[in-house]
């Protein structure tokens, strides 16, 4: 078996975590990798936390769900509570820095914590609706296994019909994604104004 990357994405319904997961898996597939994406689903039709599981590998992928993610992304307070169990000593735990009151809720054993101000950036620099595309960029940046070109192809496939009507959306989405990638870029992390503003939580372990 080749190296495998496991990603958990969790958020509220409407935050677009399933779309992000689908684009990531589709992009990995386009890049010729094995990819598997499965959403959680239950009897509730609304109101639950939406969780998506993605695996990317060069070889066979085992069970569709897994116990510990390499990258775990939580986009709401409830998502933070729900995803703690997926964090282990090698997990990069990404969460939105605007989520309030979660200090005690963060997993104790993540390898590294990455709070990112995706909600604020979407609102102030782009448009609230590209929030999930910023997250997509952050995941693509944090995994480092999916080529940008295929990610853009997958976005095009998923949102192309919207871009036809409003071509400026394409540029907006691609810039949002690149901004997301910058947020998790290790080189930028130290100098980043963003990371000075929020308390660096990645020393908890």
């Amino acid at each position: 078996m080749g190296k495998i990357t496991r990603i958990v994405l969790a958020g509220e319904g409407g935050q677009g975590v399933q779309s992000v997961a689908e684009i990531i898996a589709e992009a990995a597939n386009k890049a010729g990798k094995q990819a598997l994406y499965i959403p959680n689903f239950g009897v509730e039709q609304r109101g639950g936390v939406s969780v998506a599981y993605v695996q990317i590998s060069d070889g066979n992928i085992g069970s569709p769900k897994f116990k510990t993610g390499d990258i775990v992304v939580a986009l709401s307070e409830r998502a933070v509570r729900r995803t703690g169990k997926y964090a282990g000593p090698d997990t990069t735990y990404v969460y939105d820095s605007s989520i309030k009151g979660i200090e005690g809720e963060l997993p104790k054993y993540a390898g590294r914590f990455l709070p990112i101000p995706a909600i604020d950036i979407a609102r102030h620099d782009f448009h609230p609706r590209v929030f999930n595309i910023i997250i997509l960029g952050a995941v693509v940046g944090a995994t480092g296994v999916i080529p940008l070109e295929q990610v853009k192809d997958a976005i095009e496939e998923k949102l192309g019909y919207k871009f036809e009507k409003q071509p400026e959306l394409r540029e907006l989405n691609f810039r949002a994604m690149e901004r997301g990638m910058e947020l998790v870029d290790a080189k930028n992390m130290r100098e980043s104004v963003i990371f000075k503003e929020v308390a660096p939580a990645y020393e908890i372990f």
């Binding site: 078996m1 990819a35 959680n40 689903f41 239950g42 085992g62 069970s63 569709p64 769900k65 116990k67």
Partner: protein, 362 residues
């Protein structure tokens, strides 16, 4: 309307439910009958979206009993007919499947297992093994393929139609909620372009000519007045079934020759079993795997061989012993120590299997 469904082989990235709809089209199925239940709903959704383009039909019925019986009717009329269901729907489906067994009707049924008993979860399990292999008031005269990947879901859905129409026993494709809902890559192809002959359906009733003059009369009975009559017919069917078994039984096996322990799993759990064996071998542990692809009929001689040559076997399943029970019967008279790992209604990862094996082998 004679448009070829899959022009050339193509890699696709789909959910399992979409795969089943595409496979049924590729197998030249004529009609699906169905009643919605999670997690198989999208088979119906995709079929109804694709069907009109290729002059195919769909009928939504009022429940699974009706979906099963209309599938029976479709087959009697000479159509390649199928249905799909899960959980409590599979329970109801056993009644029409029994009738298909008694009339030797080649209905195809796709099952996406969910948690049980009763409504339980709509998510996943391997708890419909007993019911799918041996359900109904009969002798389990059906073929059951248990798939473990989207490629297999495509391959075996196509194969199910051929097996059903060749041997005239109801045939199941046994998937699960994970396979239904997950996306992964596979290659879609036109079976005939690969040299797979698709068996043509033929009507049971309404054939041309005068019965008794131009052709033998058609008589299809599921009711008998005399015990002896029934005995004769059931014995005949079981003999046919026994003769078919070695032709259709399929399995997968690896690394058992020198193994201290053989892990057995089917369906989606096999993915974890195979990964665990790879990882454990890499750590120097002598383990192998055996995977039944057909759960009914089982590859009995190969199972006996594995159980005769191994000191220990570990059966891993997302149910409380439903596969284990089938294996015990097949392996009767052999001596391997029989170990189990039952996780009813939840997924099983390679890491969990590895931990269990390490505990066993110390």
């Amino acid at each position: 309307m004679t448009e070829k469904i899959i022009e050339q082989e193509k890699r696709a990235f789909l959910t399992g439910n979409e795969v089943v709809a595409w496979a049924a089209l590729a197998a030249k199925a004529d009609i699906m009958y169905g009643y919605p239940i999670t997690p198989q709903n999208e088979i119906m959704h995709y079929w109804t979206r694709l069907a009109p383009r290729y002059d195919k039909r769909f009928l939504q019925t009022e429940d699974e009993l009706s979906a099963g019986f209309t599938t029976v009717g479709g087959v009697l009329a000479g159509r390649k007919a199928f249905t799909a269901t899960a959980g409590p729907g599979n329970t109801l489906m056993q009644e029409p499947v029994s009738m298909a067994e008694m009339l030797r009707l080649p209905i195809v049924v796709v099952i996406q297992q969910r948690g049980g008993p009763s409504t339980a979860t709509v998510i996943y399990s391997q708890q419909e093994v007993t019911m799918t292999t041996l359900g109904g008031n009969g002798e389990g005269m059906r073929v059951v393929y248990s798939t473990s990947s989207h490629q297999e879901l495509f391959d075996y859905t196509i194969k199910a139609f051929n097996t059903a129409w060749k041997y005239r026993f109801p045939t199941f494709v046994l998937g699960d909620g994970y396979q239904a809902k997950m996306r992964e890559p596979l290659t879609l192809y036109d079976p005939e372009s690969r040299g797979i002959e698709l068996i043509k359906p033929e009507p049971y009733v309404g054939k041309p000519g005068t019965p008794g003059v131009d052709r033998a009369p058609s008589q299809f009975r599921n009711t008998y007045s005399m015990e002896e009559e029934l005995l004769e017919i059931v014995n005949q069917y079981m003999q046919d079934y026994g003769e078919m078994a070695p032709q259709v039984a399929e399995y997968q096996v690896a690394n058992v020759e020198d193994a201290d322990l053989v892990i057995i799993g089917h369906g989606v759990v096999f993915r974890a079993v195979r990964a665990a064996v790879d990882n454990l071998r890499a750590r120097g542990l002598k383990v192998g795997y055996f995977r039944p692809v057909t759960l009914r009929p089982l590859a009995v001689p190969q199972i006996k061989e594995v159980f005769s040559n191994s000191k220990k076997v570990l059966v891993v399943e997302s149910a409380y012993g439903q596969l284990a029970r089938l294996l015990k019967e097949a392996a009767y008279g052999t001596t391997a120590e029989f170990l189990t790992m039952f996780r009813p209604g939840v997924g099983i990862t390679a890491e969990e299997v590895e931990a269990e094996v390490e505990k066993i082998l110390g």
